[in-house]
Symmetry: C2
Subunit: 117 residues, 2 copies
DNA sequence: TGGACAGTACAACAGTCGTTGAACCTTTGG
DNA sequence: CCAAAGGTTCAACGACTGTTGTACTGTCCA
């Protein structure tokens, strides 16, 4: 669990980024991270209701396209968006994407206890 | 060659759009269309150096996610970006994507006669 | 009417992707 | 030292995707 690969944003292509964001689950992860800031990995795949392996897979894709950084602080790890670096490499892109995240997509990701309505 | 499917932008999800833009060829098509405006289909897949069937396939994906509209004017047809409609549905998204198209990507798509350099 | 041409539809293939479960590694806590 | 917990890795599977070639549809021109 030591060091995982983190993309050098200079080497990341727009195509890779678009691919990274083309999956609903990953879009939810990114949106969730954007709203919560640094978040524990457990909390993420718990909120999304997916398995550890699956989450780990998507985390990796997101790391490989430079969107996500993993922070390991012992047993429980966390992740955060590389917002500023990403903004330098792809100005305005992440903002534009996040501002267009559908509520339908977001709802599933945020609600672990859908009580209301 | 009569009527092809064009997506109702209201029903298009962000995920579909991101998927539509996650292919380098499609990204080039969109970029090319953005710079040239309405363009003949032949000119597009000629500039990209791909087969008719392949181009038609990508055109369809682009139509299905609401990015492209086909205009049939007889034998030779053309396509154009649904810029304004798309902007209404996904504000700022297309602009942000297009402004981040790498030159490397663009070079291949624009140059049918790579003379310079 | 016929043939050339532009584009689409279909079938087929290889390659990739998302998902799952099991095994593994590392840290934490007894 | 051992066991539990958090994540990653691996192999495997089905599903989807991009590409190609061929057949088909529709249009233009002679």
């Amino acid at each position: 669990m030591r060091d995982v690969f983190h993309a050098d944003l200079a080497n990341v292509s727009l195509t890779e980024v678009m691919h990274g964001l083309s999956d609903p689950l990953r879009l939810r992860i990114v949106d969730l991270l954007a709203r919560r800031g640094e978040t524990e990995c457990f909390a993420i795949y718990s909120a999304l209701g997916i398995s550890k392996s699956n989450a780990s897979h998507h985390f990796r894709v997101l790391r490989e396209c430079g969107l996500l950084r993993r922070l390991h602080q012992g047993q429980q790890q966390s992740a955060r968006l590389r917002t500023d670096e990403f903004e330098e490499r792809f100005p305005g892109l992440l903002t534009a994407v996040l501002s267009n995240v559908d509520d339908a997509l977001r709802a599933d990701s945020a609600e672990s206890s859908p009580v209301g309505a």
